[in-house]
């Protein structure tokens, strides 16, 4: 079928598109075009408040997307990240409130216990995901669909849908809403995560084996790579990063909410990974590109808001761009020759 379709298309435009993608990458070009275009249309766009807003949101998305990218590179899928963001948020807030009641005034302990509980429940979900995929051989899609549902349910049960308050001021004002050299703390957190993940992907055995497993599981087995451990690892990292995002979001907003993250965050993280060149076939993808793609998606959403595009219409753009990104990836893959 595909051969018929391509044969009918104008050859010239495909070749042109391909050469641009090959030389500088489509994503930076789109990003620049978007920024330049929006700056020309609406001066509000390059206002400081808007820029900080964009950076904050992009940072949160980038952290989740880095984890998602790792899972997809290994050949998996993590649908539970949005629900983990919500669960980590409410667990962190509730734990802080409880610790504050038990040890009033001990801010360090309160914050540490809350953060540990948030990260801990993320890790727990990730380990369950990884265990089911690696040991029970259930597909990642199904497993994380299940844990997404369960995790979201637990989040709602804990809070009954009411935002959880009672966190120390130093956590909210001193950390979540604070700025360092004019930038929100979330930006530094994201940069740290991206740098760490780049290191993991390029310089560690774990990162290399994740590429190998995603590239060809059977070849990895024959090469003596232990598959299960590394698959569990990818899901654990993904969930922990989602939990970290939940904690950052909680600190920023000042309350733990079961409505954080959710399907939207999950979809966006997958979109960011895919647009950022992570192949759904596994074995290909770099987190720094995924981070740029998260920035691009955030700016796109922001632009659509500033242009007063109906919010119900916005997901349509996301969908179109995602499909176009995968289509371009396939096109460039097909044109490669063997030597």
């Amino acid at each position: 079928m595909s051969a018929v379709v391509t044969a009918g298309m104008p050859r010239r435009s495909i070749t042109l598109g391909r050469s641009i993608v090959g030389r500088i990458g489509l994503l930076p070009a789109l990003l620049v075009a978007l920024v330049v275009g929006m700056s020309a249309i609406d001066p509000q766009f390059y206002g400081l408040i808007n820029i900080l807003n964009i950076l904050r949101n992009a940072s949160l998305l980038a952290i989740v997307a880095c984890g998602q990218a790792l899972v997809i590179v290994a050949g998996g899928f993590d649908l539970s990240v949005g629900a983990v963001v919500a669960l980590a948020s409410v667990v962190t807030a509730k734990t802080m409130a409880a610790t504050a009641a038990a040890f009033p005034g001990n801010t360090a302990l309160i914050i540490a216990s809350g953060a540990a509980a948030g990260i801990g429940c993320g890790l727990a979900v990730g380990l369950v995901n990884g265990f089911c995929v690696a040991k029970l051989k259930v597909s990642g899609f199904v497993v994380t669909l299940g844990t997404m549902s369960a995790t979201a349910g637990v989040g709602l049960m804990i809070t009954s849908g009411i935002p959880a308050y009672g966190m120390p001021d130093s956590f909210v004002k001193g950390f979540g809403r604070a700025q360092l050299f004019g930038l929100p703390t979330a930006v530094y957190a994201a940069l740290a995560v991206i740098a760490a993940m780049m290191f993991v992907q390029r310089r560690t055995l774990f990162g290399r084996y994740v590429y190998a497993i995603g590239g060809n599981v059977d070849a990895a087995v024959v090469s003596g790579v232990s598959i299960q451990r590394h698959i569990v690892g990818t899901y654990a990292v993904s969930s922990v990063l989602a939990a970290l995002t939940g904690i950052l979001l909680t600190a920023q907003v000042g309350s733990g909410q079961a409505s954080f993250g959710g399907d939207r965050m999950m979809l966006q993280s997958i979109a960011a990974a895919v647009i950022g060149g992570v192949s759904l076939r596994g074995g290909v993808g770099r987190v720094e590109i995924v981070a740029i793609s998260a920035l691009f998606l955030t700016i796109l959403g922001n632009a659509l808001n500033l242009l007063h595009v109906d919010s119900r219409l916005q997901p349509v753009f996301l969908g179109v761009i995602m499909v176009a990104a995968v289509a371009l990836d396939e096109l460039s893959r097909r044109s490669k020759a063997r030597v």
């Binding site: 051969a3 774990f206 190998a212 070849a219 090469s223 232990s226 192949s279």
Partner: protein, 512 residues
């Protein structure tokens, strides 16, 4: 299989003139001419990367040529698609199968041209025609079996049957015997003779001289995407063909290997596998010699060495490596014990095609402290080591950052061999080492084994190609139905004896 009667015998069935095809930067075909007459078997001969695959892909409509003319049955053909090619009677059988693994043989045969009545599948008619076709071909195939349950040989038969369903005027066979046994191969040859007598034209890609001798009417030699010469098969010699193909002289296909059998490196006692593919096998291999394992497809010979390496579950029996008992084999531990395995299917089990050569070659060695400390890779060491190893193996082009998916069969095999040179190893298990690679690359693999053996390593070669195991091995095991049927050394090591041991087993089985 009806033919246009008005077609003059002098006019070729297929006439290509000046066909060129470029892929991003690489000129895969450069003004190639090809004529195939009805009733002729035309062999395409050339090394990997010579442009054979590209040419048959152009003929079967997978992608259009950049320039050149294409005449089929006297008609000028433009904008050919795979569907159109099939409908005008061009039927390709590719090395990489075009079968849907989750569908049955019959469903695959009719895929895209199902017999329907008012949009509803006509199952009985299809079953009837599938059975008739398989019977006519003499293949041992069950139309209701799922393709992923079949062996590679049976998948190959399905692929051939699929190509012959319907009206065929030009059949393209790309190394069709690569996974067939001798018996199945002779069936295929009979079939080819029948097709020729029915005036079907054939394009046949093969590296095997014996097949070319047995089948070919004419041979077209390609090199570096260019048409070198077309010769009459009857008047050309083997060395002439090989010389034209490689552009240099090759005297002997198999190198002379000096075997110096030393201590027993691999010792297997009463080995039985969980799936019953190997039963009560006693086997040993020494350092300094090549131990061959011959047998038909599915006889358990691959499973035997896979079990030693640790990728087939064992129920009973003992394995000793270098005298030490080796329980519960696993790939990582095998590598640490100095045992390496080279899988038959390099795409399925060997390489991560989306990853660069460097990562693929170093995949088996990263557990060593020289390459990674505390989980952190030492990239400089990795790069220089792999660069050196691939230079040693003469990788062309010598760029280790290319992705493995962009490589030809011969270069892929080199990446696999590269793994052997990255760490200290003493036992090498080769599973069908020369499947899918050309004569030049085969020679390099054989030379590689020669160097290993003469350096004192133990090499085990499992192969369905009898001449190969006969020539390479010092001691040869013959397997049949999961058991060792014979162990041949020295003068006993002949083709007749190997075939006789299959036959003897058959008799024993029939008597029992």
């Amino acid at each position: 299989m009806d033919l246009d009667a008005d077609l003059k015998p002098a006019e070729p069935l297929l006439a290509l003139r000046g066909i060129s095809k470029r892929f991003t930067g690489v000129r895969a075909l450069d003004r190639v001419d090809l004529d195939v007459h009805a009733g002729e078997l035309h062999v395409l001969f050339g090394e990997n990367g010579a442009g054979k695959s590209t040419l048959i892909n152009v003929v079967s409509g997978t992608f259009p040529p950049d320039e050149g003319t294409f005449h089929f049955g006297g008609e000028d053909i433009r904008h050919l698609t795979p569907q159109r090619a099939r409908s005008i009677g061009i039927s390709p059988v590719f090395q990489e199968f075009s079968l849907v693994p989750s569908l049955t043989v019959e469903e695959n045969l009719f895929l895209g041209r199902e017999v329907t009545r008012g949009g509803i599948l006509h199952a009985r008619e299809m079953r009837k025609r599938a059975t008739a076709l398989i019977d006519e071909l003499g293949f041992d195939l069950d139309p209701s079996q799922r393709v992923d349950d079949l062996s590679r040989a049976h998948q190959q038969m399905t692929e051939i049957a699929k190509a012959l369903l319907g009206r065929v005027r030009l059949l393209i066979l790309d190394e069709p015997t690569a996974s067939l046994t001798e018996r199945e191969t002779s069936r295929l040859f009979e079939l080819i003779a029948r097709l020729k007598s029915q005036n079907v034209g054939l394009i046949y890609v093969s590296h095997r001289m014996r097949e070319i001798r047995a089948l070919a009417d004419r041979v077209t030699v390609l090199r570096d995407g260019r048409h070198i010469r077309t010769l009459d098969a009857a008047t050309s010699t083997d060395s002439e063909l090989v010389e034209l193909m490689t552009g240099r002289k090759i005297d002997l296909l198999f190198p002379t290997i000096t075997h110096k059998p030393d201590k027993v490196m691999v010792d297997v006692e009463n080995l039985t596998l969980a799936d019953g593919s190997v039963r009560d096998v006693n086997f040993h291999a020494r350092a300094g010699e090549i131990t061959g394992v011959a047998g038909l497809v599915g006889c358990g010979k691959s499973e035997l060495i896979r079990a030693i390496y640790g990728i087939e579950p064992i129920v009973s029996g003992t394995i000793r490596i270098d005298g030490l008992p080796y329980d519960f084999p696993a790939p990582r531990r095998s590598l640490r014990n100095g045992v390496a395995y080279f899988p038959a299917n390099r795409v399925a089990e060997g390489l991560a095609l989306s990853r660069p050569i460097r990562e693929n070659a170093s995949m088996t060695v990263l557990d060593l402290p020289a390459f990674a400390r505390f989980g952190v890779l030492r990239q400089a060491v990795e790069r220089t080591t792999i660069q050196r190893v691939m230079e040693q193996l003469q990788l062309r082009p010598p760029n280790i950052e290319r992705t493995a998916g962009a490589l030809s069969g011969g270069n892929r095999q080199k990446v696999m061999l590269g793994r052997a040179l990255t760490r200290e190893l003493s036992v090498f298990l080769f599973d069908e080492p020369s499947v899918g690679i050309d004569v030049g690359a085969k020679l390099e693999v054989y030379e590689f084994m020669k160097r290993l053996v003469e350096a004192g390593a133990g090499v085990i070669v499992v192969s369905s190609e009898l001449p190969e195991v006969l020539a390479l091995s010092n001691r040869l095991y013959v397997m049949h139905h999961g058991r060792i049927a014979a162990e041949l050394t020295g003068a006993e090591k002949t083709e007749q004896n190997v075939l006789a041991s299959f036959f003897r087993e058959h008799l024993v089985a029939e008597v029992a």
